[in-house]
């Protein structure tokens, strides 16, 4: 087993869990680019119904379709959070009235606890780069979804730490490109991912 940080994408039965296939490699590139955190060169996909999901304390979950955990998935997600894992859920629809948002938030409330707004001065936003809140994505106002700029992320916190982080920002679209394309950006739009990983590893 490696001691490196491994970016893990959660696979669940009910929806399109693999809707952002380029995102893991891009985030791994970002982590390696800005930090000295040992990071595995490739990510992994772990099924939420498999106990091996407990070997990856930071899990990324996304999709467009309804999220409905099976009993095994629900049991494992509950154990994952109880033991100190952090689940990052991103709404690929960036639509608070959309099917993913409604079902995923309901499923999180049912499995763990209801989500609440995360204050924009939370330690997450200063874990590495400084942000005044969740960075806006170019996709939020692209005419799809709810066409809103979402001012806050949502979270379930346990003992002062984020256990579940829920985003309607559509980082799954924003970060879903080949790492080589970063050179075309004036400002790297994946920097917030560094905060996510550093926060998960240190908070």
């Amino acid at each position: 087993m490696t001691s490196e940080f491994v970016f893990a994408t959660a696979q669940y039965e009910s929806g399109d869990w693999d809707s952002a296939p380029l995102l893991p490699a891009n985030i791994i590139d970002t982590i390696a680019r800005y930090t000295e955190i040992p990071v595995a060169p490739t990510g992994v996909v772990v099924s939420l119904s498999d106990d091996r999901m407990l070997r990856y304390p930071l899990l990324y979950l996304t999709g467009h379709l309804p999220v409905r955990f099976s009993d095994a998935e629900r049991r494992n997600v509950r154990r994952f959070v109880d033991r100190g894992g952090m689940l990052f859920v991103d709404d690929h629809n960036h639509d608070i009235d959309g099917t993913f948002h409604k079902t995923a938030t309901e499923e999180i409330a049912r499995t763990i606890a209801p989500l609440a707004e995360l204050p924009n001065d939370h330690a997450l936003y200063s874990a590495f780069f400084k942000f005044d809140g969740p960075p806006t994505t170019s996709h939020e106002l692209n005419g799809w979804g709810d066409n809103l700029v979402h001012k806050h992320l949502l979270a379930v916190q346990r003992a002062g730490r984020i256990a579940v982080l829920f985003s309607n920002k559509d980082y799954s679209s924003e970060w879903n490109y080949h790492p080589e394309s970063k050179r075309f950006l004036t400002v790297d739009n994946t920097r917030f991912a560094v905060n996510l990983v550093v926060y998960a590893l240190t908070a």
Binding site: M1, E36, I37, P38, R55, D82, A127, F128, T202
Partner: protein, 422 residues
């Protein structure tokens, strides 16, 4: 020339007067060998007042099956100092007990016992029975979460006690290393346990994140330091001074490979073990590999071994303690272990920190006479001195002497009265 009759009469008179003189002398010149008071364990408490009123020439002896209460020993000591010859004999059980608060915010107390092998010791506090333990070899240790008042032990009819009422004042624990799951979960679990934690994790060149300020490193604010990896090298000499002054240090994973830690480490690390872990395997502590202690320092103590080598070792340095823990991914045990592994992981790290952490006690603990009663008894009255049973009965009963006098005088009188009889 005296006749045989007159010689007999003279002998009877002389014997009667000799016995009378013995009695008179005995009453005027008391003999030490003839005046001894004895009492057993159960009766000695009630005899002390009477013994105190006796002249100093009376010898006092206690036959002890168990060690009497400390106040009895103190009273006997006072009698000894006032001129009485005080001795004791018997074989009370050699028991001793100490208790002290553990360096654990949960408030646990450790009770250490010494007693003869196979002795059953029952421990009580002011509230109820705490525990019972059968002593293996010569000692036993009991850790109990709550103690109300002094702890009282009883074994083989012997009562002994220890006070654990000293309130502990907890300093912070420093966790230092690279940003990693190991460091993160050590911090989490110690905070869950109630420890104040200062953390410093290296993320990027010139970028460390965490909470609190590590330096200055001294026992006025820090109880222990946990090094997750070789980042600890940064603290160098400050850490050595901290340990020498009483601070605790846990060198986890490969942290003791840092050059500055070589003089502090209980041993030298070997190559990391890499046991094969199948996807379906349940993960336990060390089951995914660890850094074994390949060679132990002369004053190092082995604490835990696993297949693959020595996993945990410790040593004392100055007033401090250093523990070497070979595990570098113990977090896997918490996250992916069997049911209850999260609690077991927390308990394991809490025990590790408690074993090394600097813990000043608000009211200093002192060993009382009751914590080691036999030691106290010997300290005050000396070693046991068996007294020959005939010593006390060496003085002859005066009634027997009177009877002998009467016999001699009667014989002499009868001889004279029968002198003319043919």
């Amino acid at each position: 020339m005296r006749s045989r009759r007159s010689t007999f009469e003279l002998a009877c008179r002389l014997a009667a007067f000799a016995l009378l003189g013995w009695l008179l002398g005995d009453s005027l010149i008391p003999s030490r060998s003839r005046r001894m008071e004895r009492a057993s364990t159960g009766a000695i408490g009630s005899r002390l007042a009477a013994w105190t009123r006796m002249p100093p020439t009376v010898r006092l002896h206690a036959d002890l099956a168990t060690t009497p209460d400390a106040w009895v020993v103190d009273w006997l000591t006072a009698l000894s100092h006032s001129g009485h010859a005080v001795t004791w004999s018997g074989a009370p059980p050699a028991v001793a007990m100490s208790s002290e608060p553990l360096a654990d915010p949960n408030g646990a107390t450790r009770i250490d016992l010494a007693a003869p092998a196979r002795t059953l010791v029952v421990l009580r506090d002011s509230a109820s029975v705490v525990d019972s333990v059968r002593v293996d070899h010569l000692g036993a240790t009991v850790v109990t979460p709550i103690v109300v008042g002094p702890v009282v032990g009883s074994a083989s009819g012997q009562r002994f006690a220890a006070d654990a009422s000293g309130a502990a004042r907890f300093r912070a624990v420093v966790v230092i290393g690279d940003a990693s799951w190991e460091g993160k979960f050590v911090v989490s679990t110690l905070e869950e346990r109630g420890w104040p934690v200062i953390a410093q994790f290296h993320v990027a060149p010139n970028v460390d994140v965490g909470q609190g300020v590590v330096l200055p490193l001294d026992t006025s604010r820090v109880a222990a330091v946990i090094a997750v990896d070789t980042t600890i090298e940064l603290l160098g000499g400050a850490l050595a001074r901290f340990v020498h002054s009483g601070g605790g240090l846990i060198l986890a994973g490969r942290s003791s490979l840092a050059p500055a830690m070589r003089l502090l480490s209980p041993g030298v690390l070997g190559a990391r073990t890499h046991p094969s872990v199948l996807p379906a395997d349940t993960i336990g502590l060390g089951s995914t590999g660890f850094y074994p202690v390949a060679s132990l320092a002369a004053d190092g103590v082995a604490l835990a071994s696993l297949p693959g080598g020595l996993a945990v070792a410790a040593r004392r340095i100055g007033a401090g303690r250093v523990m070497q823990v070979g595990f570098d991914d113990s977090w896997r045990w918490r996250m992916a272990g069997a049911t209850g592994s999260e609690t077991a992981y927390r308990d394991w790290w809490a025990r590790a920190v408690a074993a090394v952490a600097y813990l000043p006690v608000a009211s200093p603990l002192h060993s009382s006479a009751e914590s080691a009663p036999l030691v106290h008894l010997i300290d005050r009255l000396g070693a046991p001195r068996p007294t020959a049973p005939d010593v006390a009965s060496r003085s002859i009963d005066p009634r027997l002497l009177l009877a002998l006098i009467m016999i001699f005088l009667s014989a002499e009188w009868a001889s004279r009265r029968l002198r003319g009889l043919r």
